[in-house]
């Protein structure tokens, strides 16, 4: 029964990792870029929410809204400054380094807004209950549902709307999409906004479950998102979801059986092993194969 309980806890946490992983996968799938500042954008959103809270006084939902909007704005800013100017194929490194610089900047802005190390971040007051032998935290269950709804909404957006069609076309082949009249640079902006919104939702769920924010949150979420994406497969959205869930489950199990100090070691080890044994990740094999084929033309 204990194993089941741990797995369930892991699944709850994993759903939030999945959202952050999707943020990375969206950007990578469409632009073949890594946004290192993504975690910092989320931290910025959360800090802004806490900073503005005394003025707005909207309570928990205010926190939720401002975190989401702040993260999306920061993400859009990162796109304008770091990714829009570097569109050539060979410039992915430059864009990544630029986003690292902005990571430092957003980190600093956030710690100016939150001068102390830890700040309380309110969550919803939800009852906890027992389901048979399993202990369920109401707020975590709610978060799981929010994550599920967000992912469903994203699915609808990508597969049922015209914008989604444009996004998928660009992900498949940016040059052809551009020639057929898709405004690819504008689409990049939309993608970053979308990633910021999803990440903001994820950040709210993580922070309100923990109950506090520290300046380390930016780096932490960047790593979790990257690992979730890599685990599932680069640029694959279902992969990022599955990767996030697996990451959550493995992490809680490792923490429960080996102790907290080995938890991160296990996750990094797992991702390293996956990369060595199955470089495309669990789901993104197709992308990896086409990319490596392009590399090995001869």
């Amino acid at each position: 029964m204990n194993t089941l309980q741990t797995s369930l806890d892991g699944l709850m946490i994993g759903s939030t990792y999945a959202l952050i992983g999707i943020g990375f996968a969206l950007v990578f799938g469409i632009m073949r870029r890594i946004n290192l500042a993504f975690g910092a954008c989320l931290l910025f959103g959360a800090s802004l929410a806490i900073y503005l809270e005394p003025w707005l006084g909207w309570g928990v939902w205010g926190l939720f809204l401002v975190t989401m909007v702040g993260a999306a704005l920061a993400s859009a800013y990162v796109e304008r400054l770091c990714f829009a100017p570097h569109t050539k194929r060979t410039q992915s490194m430059t864009a990544m380094i630029a986003s690292f610089a902005i990571w430092m900047q957003l980190d600093e802005i956030s710690s100016q807004m939150l001068p102390q190390r830890t700040h309380a971040y309110d969550g919803l007051e939800m009852p906890t209950f027992w389901l048979g032998e399993i202990y369920v935290r109401g707020d975590q269950l709610l978060h799981f549902c929010i994550a599920l709804i967000s992912i469903l909404l994203l699915y609808v957006l990508l597969y049922k709307t015209r914008l989604g069609l444009l996004i998928r076309a660009t992900a498949d082949n940016p040059e052809t999409a551009y020639l057929l009249g898709v405004r690819v640079p504008w689409l990049g902006f939309i993608i970053f906004l979308l990633a910021g919104i999803l990440g903001g939702v994820g950040a709210f769920m993580i922070l309100s479950a923990d109950g506090y924010v520290t300046p380390m949150f930016g780096m932490w979420s960047t790593f979790k998102g990257l690992l979730a994406m890599i685990l599932g497969g680069l640029g694959s959205l279902p992969g990022a979801v599955i990767g996030g869930l697996i990451l959550g489950i493995v992490e809680t199990h490792a923490g429960a059986s080996l102790g907290a100090e080995y938890r991160d070691m296990v996750t990094f080890g797992l991702v390293f092993l996956v990369l060595i044994i199955r470089p495309g990740g669990l789901m993104g094999v197709k992308i990896y194969r086409t990319e490596s084929l392009a590399q090995e033309r001869i």
């Binding site: 490194m93 430059t94 380094i97 630029a98 610089a101 902005i102 100090e261 991702v271 990369l275 060595i276």
Partner: protein, 299 residues
Amino acid sequence: MDPYLASVLTNMTLIAFLAISAYLVLVVGEVSFGQQAFFGIGAYLTASVTVLADGHVIWALLTAVVGGAAGTLVLGLLTIRLSGLYFAISTLCFAELLRFSLLQTRFTQIIDGRKLGPDGPEGFSNIRWIFDNHFDATDFLLLSVTCLTVLLLLLFGLARSRLMLQARMVGNDPILAQSQGLNPTHYRLGFITLSGAVAGFGGGLFALFNTHIEPAMFGVMLGVHALTYSIIGGLGSPIGPLIGVVLDIGLLESIRQLAAYRMIVFGGLVALFLVFRPEGILSHRLVARLKRRWGRRHV
């Protein structure tokens, strides 16, 4: 020399080793987020040899070089199939694994009534080599600058060689290099191992200078900074990473009174700078142009 200034300059030289090691990986077209781990290995090995085994500092630094090189060689062999982002993330994971292992390394001994050796998260204290040998800040600065100069001279010698040209070809276009009869894997492994050796050596000096090291010092931030220095400085010349270090740490230290806001300004400036000079200051093109102009004047 003013001890504070000397220690700032020494720090810059030591970080320059790490930046050069990141540069060496970039030469063969790969990106490493993990050089800081080999820096850390070098630091721990040097500390162990000088403190625990009471060995000579030359042996200590040699161990650091070999340790760093061995670490990167293992990483290079394990990731032999990977390239691009996959390689970058695997270096990140490998480096973090090594750092977590350092966090768990406890091997303390009582020597002369003092507890010495790596002690998990507490790190490795009392590396008394510079006190025992009466090095002050200026002496150590001289030592590290000399080492860095020798390394740079070696790299300049290498830059004019066929080997470096071939390595750059592998970095720019592995397929083209292959069709010219080069084996990209050999060049990649060779340069990655070399980068580990450089990082290990720098880490060894770092341990001697700081007298206290702990795993938290060798986090990913350090490695990404080193990478940033290489990119800002430009990949056209081995001096590039050094310029990046001088710009960053030099500027940071000189506008210290603005400490709170300096990253806000500096981060934005770096991003803006990359918009206008995406290849960094000393790009291949600029170096080639300078060489032409210089050559014309002297021929």
